[in-house]
Structure formats: structure tokens, C-alpha cells
């Protein structure tokens, strides 16, 4: 009966799928049963033989060619939507787009503000016979502003005058304490400034002392994951270091940086941050892989050092 059970569970033992108590029973039986020991040896020899034909690695050229072809195909692909979803307005998506489109948001605010001010001014003057307001401005009127969009163009055939209606973005300055909510909101917005990495660096540098705020912490995690500038990623890491132990999302993003980041400096910083949580199962597994395979000698050595000082939890 025992030998029968052993044969049924041999494959699971070989592939480390047996529960701890069953594993103990299995090993105990094999130690005392010659035929089962021989069976196990034969099975292990089979597993080794099968490893003689490992899965072929994908060549970088083949992968790149496939990615390019997929990108082209995606350009023409359309997502299928259910019949009813066509009629449902995606409010959350719309809000997300508005929130992440500062130029459009600013333009809408400016237009609204300008419209309101104009109406108030006209009411204050009490000039009910003012007629249509002149929309054309002087030739130099647009020089102080950035033109956001051209709304309409019309030509008067009698006078050969062209009338162009356009929206402008007014550069503005704001000053305030770091605790000012408006300042903090703008700093968070600045972390997503894709055109200027200096702005991102400055904003992350200021925000990193306020990582106790969940919104700030999310911005730091996002910068660590997606920012192209290693300096920004390093600053984000610095801001997150106090939360590796208690916040699982921070721990995951630091672990991700350790495994995937192209910059050795960022990876070195990430591994030092993970020292207090080296016993965590995800961190432990990643360290085991890095200790064996990482091309970076420092990461390899540190991983081994952490593993040596952590009890193995099997």
C-alpha cells in the first residue's frame, strides 16, 4: 500500500509539488524501501535526461521582429465592445483623461475664467447696447501667450479681413508653503511632466519628504517604475525607503526596480533598501535568482550575503 502511494506521488515529489507532511512521509519511506529508492533514482535520472533538451531561448532579433509586427498590427486592430457598452459613457475614463491632460484642463479653466470675467465686466458697465464684442485682436496680441488651439477662421469678402478665433494659455506663477494643498497638487502634476526631467527631479525631491501621504507615495512609486531618468528614479527610491517594511506596494516596486532597472546605481540602491525585508518570500525568491544568475557582481554578492544571513524557510 505504501509503495503504491509512493509510485502515485513520485512525480509530485520530483517536481516539488508535494505538501510538507507528505514529503516527509515520502522521504521516510524511500529510506527504508529498496525498490522505491531504485524507482526514485530512475525517475530522477529521467528528469535529468529530459533536461538535455532545454527550451530554446528566443533570439533578440526574433523577439524584436515580432514586436514590430505586432505594433503594426495593433495600429489597425480595434477593440471589440459589447452592444450596450457603446452607449455607456465611461465617466471614470473621462475623468482620468482630464486629470492627466494638464494643458486641456488649464485651457478649460482659462476659458471659463475669461468668459466669467468678461460677462461680469459687461454687466458692471451696464452697456446693454454694446453689440458683439470685437474678437479680433492686434497682430502682436498673441505674442505673450501660447496658442492652445484655433477654433475658427472666417473671411469677410467685402473687406478682405480674416477673423481667427483662438484660445491661449497664460503662463502663471504661484508661490506658497510646501504644506499648501495647491502647491502640492502642482508638484504632483509636475512629476508627470514628460518634457522636462529637471522639473520632475525638483518635484520628486520636494515630495519625497511627504511620502506619508498616499497620493505622494503613489507618485513616487510611479516615478520609480516608469520615469526614464535614473536620477528621478533614485530620488523616488530615497523617498520610499521608510515604507519598504510596512507598505507592500512600495516593497513590490522596489523589488521590481532591483530585477528590471537598467541602471546599476538604481539596482544597488534598491537592494540596500530591501535588506530589512530579506526574509519576505517574494524578496527571498528574487534574491535566490539574482545570487545565481545576475551579471552584476555587486548585486550577486549582496544577494548571497542577504541569503546567508536569512534562515531558509522550507
Amino acid at each position: 500500500m505504501k509503495c503504491e502511494w509512493m509510485k502515485e506521488n513520485l512525480v509530485l515529489y520530483m517536481y516539488d509539488e508535494l505538501a510538507d507532511d507528505a514529503k516527509f512521509e515520502f522521504v521516510h519511506h524511500v529510506q527504508h524501501c529498496l525498490s522505491c529508492r531504485q524507482e526514485l533514482e530512475a525517475a530522477q535520472a529521467f528528469k535529468e535526461e529530459m533536461s538535455a533538451a532545454p527550451a530554446a531561448e528566443v533570439s533578440p532579433n526574433f523577439l524584436a521582429a515580432n514586436r514590430m509586427q505586432l505594433q503594426e498590427a495593433l495600429e489597425h486592430a480595434e477593440q471589440s465592445r459589447s452592444f450596450w457598452s457603446k452607449f455607456i459613457f465611461d465617466f471614470a475614463g473621462w475623468m482620468q483623461q482630464i486629470k492627466l491632460a494638464p494643458a486641456l484642463t488649464a485651457a478649460l479653466l482659462i476659458i471659463g475664467f475669461a468668459g466669467g470675467s468678461l460677462t461680469t465686466w459687461r454687466l458692471a458697465l451696464g452697456d446693454t447696447n454694446a453689440g458683439p464684442l470685437p474678437v479680433a485682436t492686434s497682430n502682436t496680441g498673441s505674442q505673450d501667450y501660447n496658442i492652445a488651439a484655433i477654433d475658427s477662421i472666417s473671411t469677410n469678402p467685402d473687406s478682405n479681413q480674416i477673423t481667427i478665433k483662438y484660445d491661449t494659455l497664460h503662463p502663471q506663477t504661484i508661490a506658497g508653503a510646501a504644506t499648501d494643498p495647491r502647491i502640492q497638487e502642482l508638484l504632483l502634476m509636475a512629476t508627470r511632466n514628460n518634457r522636462n526631467s529637471d522639473v520632475r527631479l525638483d518635484s520628486i525631491d520636494l515630495l519625497k519628504t511627504k511620502a506619508q501621504d498616499n497620493e505622494v507615495r503613489d507618485a513616487l512609486i510611479s516615478a520609480l517604475r516608469y520615469d526614464r531618468n535614473p536620477g528621478v528614479r533614485l530620488k523616488a527610491l530615497d523617498g520610499l525607503k521608510g515604507y519598504v517594511k510596512d507598505d507592500i506596494h512600495v516593497r513590490d516596486s522596489v523589488l521590481e526596480a532591483l530585477l528590471h532597472d537598467a541602471n546599476p546605481g538604481v539596482r544597488s540602491e534598491a537592494i540596500s533598501l530591501l535588506e530589512p525585508v530579506k526574509a519576505d518570500s517574494s524578496v527571498h525568491e528574487a534574491l535566490e535568482v539574482l545570487a545565481q544568475h545576475d551579471p552584476n557582481q555587486y548585486i550577486k554578492t549582496q544577494s548571497k550575503k542577504y541569503l546567508a544571513s536569512t534562515p531558509h524557510l522550507d
Binding site: V11, L12, Y15, E17, A42, A43, A45, F46, K47, E49, M50, A52, A53, A55, A56, V58, F62, L63, A65, N66, R67, Q69, L70, Q71, A73, L74, A77, Q79, S80, R81, S82, S85, D90, G93, Q96, Q97, L100, A101, P102, N194, S222, R225, Y226, D227, H249, D252, S253, L255, E256, L259, H260, D261, A262, S282, V283, E285, A286, E288, V289, H293
Partner: protein, 224 residues
């Protein structure tokens, strides 16, 4: 261009550079299983292609590797890769976060591979060779670096013979057995995950693996 898309596009470029590859990809993916893809998935569901491409780049190397090893043919692996990700893009709106994106995309790929294996089984093709992108046949073992053989031609020959026997033994498995064995032995996935991917139970995956190893052992037994 929305700032969100720009940020995600930056991430696409960055992730391409940052990609860290080694043979223990399965272990790393397990370690990173908690990493949250939901933000990217939601953006992709809103039609953000850049977000979808970020998702693709996290998993496409493993997908291509699986397809290449199962089909043994670069053109077939390429077709499965393209079809799988296009299908995922078209139907990402149906993704309900009931499983990880990793499991979901692997479910699509394994279904496509199973279809391919079933079709091929009826044609009885030999998988000892692969067809490269130029249409030339290449021995599977030419792609495998065998550090043990080194400059020893005799050992090299033995290793090739063994590889050919293994390839032949693998063709004796049913498509489902082949898939479970591939996911367990070569990709190192847990049986519970394999069950989820193949829309079956862990117990069934266990039994299938048992049958696959029995068949392979008896096919390779005369060698020992």
C-alpha cells in the same frame, strides 16, 4: 497626446531597455506576481494602446519561448504570438480581474498552441527540426549550447542522439499532456496555475502530468 499615454509610452521604451532576462524567468515572475497590472489593464480597456504594449512587453518573451518550444517552428511561433496578443487586445474589455493578466494571456496562448498541436497531430509532423524565418530546416539541438560536450565530438554526438530521442518521445504525448509537461518541466509553473490556465482542476493537471511522465519514461527506457 494625453499625458497618461505619453508616460506609458515612455515606460514602453524604458521597459524594453530594462528587460532582464535569464533562464529562471518563471521564478522571477512568481516573485513579481503581486505586482499590480490593474492600472495598465484599465488604461488598455479604455483603448490606450501604449498601456497594452507595456503589458505585452512584460510577458511576450515568455509567450514566444513557449510557442517556439511547443511548435518547434519560428513561423508557427510567430503566428501564435501575433494571434494571441491581437486576441488579447480585442477582448481586453472582457477581462474581469478574476485572475492575473499573466494567467489570462497564458490561457489564450495555451489554447492556440493546443489547437496547433492538435492540427499537427493529424498531419503527423516530426518535431525534431524547426523551420526558421527563412524557411530553412534547422535541427533543434543546433540551437542548444551544450557546455558539457565542449570540444568532444563523441559526447556531442551522444547528446544529439539523446535530444532526438527526447523530441521523438515528446511527439507521443497527446497535445494536452505535452502542454502540461511543457508548462511544468520547462516553464516551472505550479500545477495549480497550470490547471487555471487550461481551465481545469489541479487534480486533473496532476493526473495529466503523471500520464505524460509515464509515457516519456517508457519511451526513453531503452536508452538506459
Amino acid at each position: 497626446m494625453p499625458a497618461e499615454t505619453a508616460a506609458l509610452q515612455a515606460a514602453v521604451g524604458a521597459s524594453g531597455d530594462r528587460r532582464y532576462s535569464h533562464s529562471s524567468g518563471a521564478m522571477v515572475s512568481q516573485a513579481l506576481s503581486r505586482v499590480n497590472d490593474s492600472e495598465l489593464i484599465r488604461a488598455a480597456q479604455r483603448g490606450d494602446r501604449a498601456a497594452f504594449e507595456v503589458l505585452v512587453r512584460q510577458y511576450d518573451q515568455a509567450v514566444l519561448r513557449l510557442a517556439l518550444h511547443l511548435t518547434g517552428s519560428e513561423p508557427d511561433a510567430r503566428d501564435i504570438y501575433q494571434e494571441a496578443f491581437l486576441k488579447a487586445y480585442r477582448h481586453i474589455g472582457n477581462f474581469r480581474f478574476e485572475c492575473s493578466f499573466y494567467t489570462w494571456i497564458y490561457r489564450i496562448v495555451t489554447n492556440l498552441c493546443l489547437d496547433h498541436l492538435r492540427k499537427r497531430q493529424t498531419r503527423k509532423e516530426d518535431s525534431g527540426t524547426v523551420v526558421d524565418s527563412n524557411g530553412h530546416e534547422v535541427d533543434l539541438l543546433d540551437r542548444v549550447s551544450d557546455e558539457r560536450s565542449g570540444a568532444n565530438p563523441e559526447r556531442d554526438l551522444m547528446s544529439r542522439e539523446l535530444g532526438a530521442r527526447i523530441a521523438a518521445a515528446l511527439t507521443r504525448l497527446t497535445p494536452r499532456e505535452r502542454m502540461v509537461f511543457e508548462l511544468k518541466h520547462y516553464q516551472g509553473l505550479r500545477l495549480r496555475t497550470i490547471g487555471e490556465m487550461l481551465n481545469t482542476t489541479e487534480e486533473t493537471a496532476k493526473n495529466t502530468l503523471f500520464r505524460a511522465t509515464q509515457k516519456l519514461r517508457s519511451a526513453l527506457a531503452p536508452m538506459r
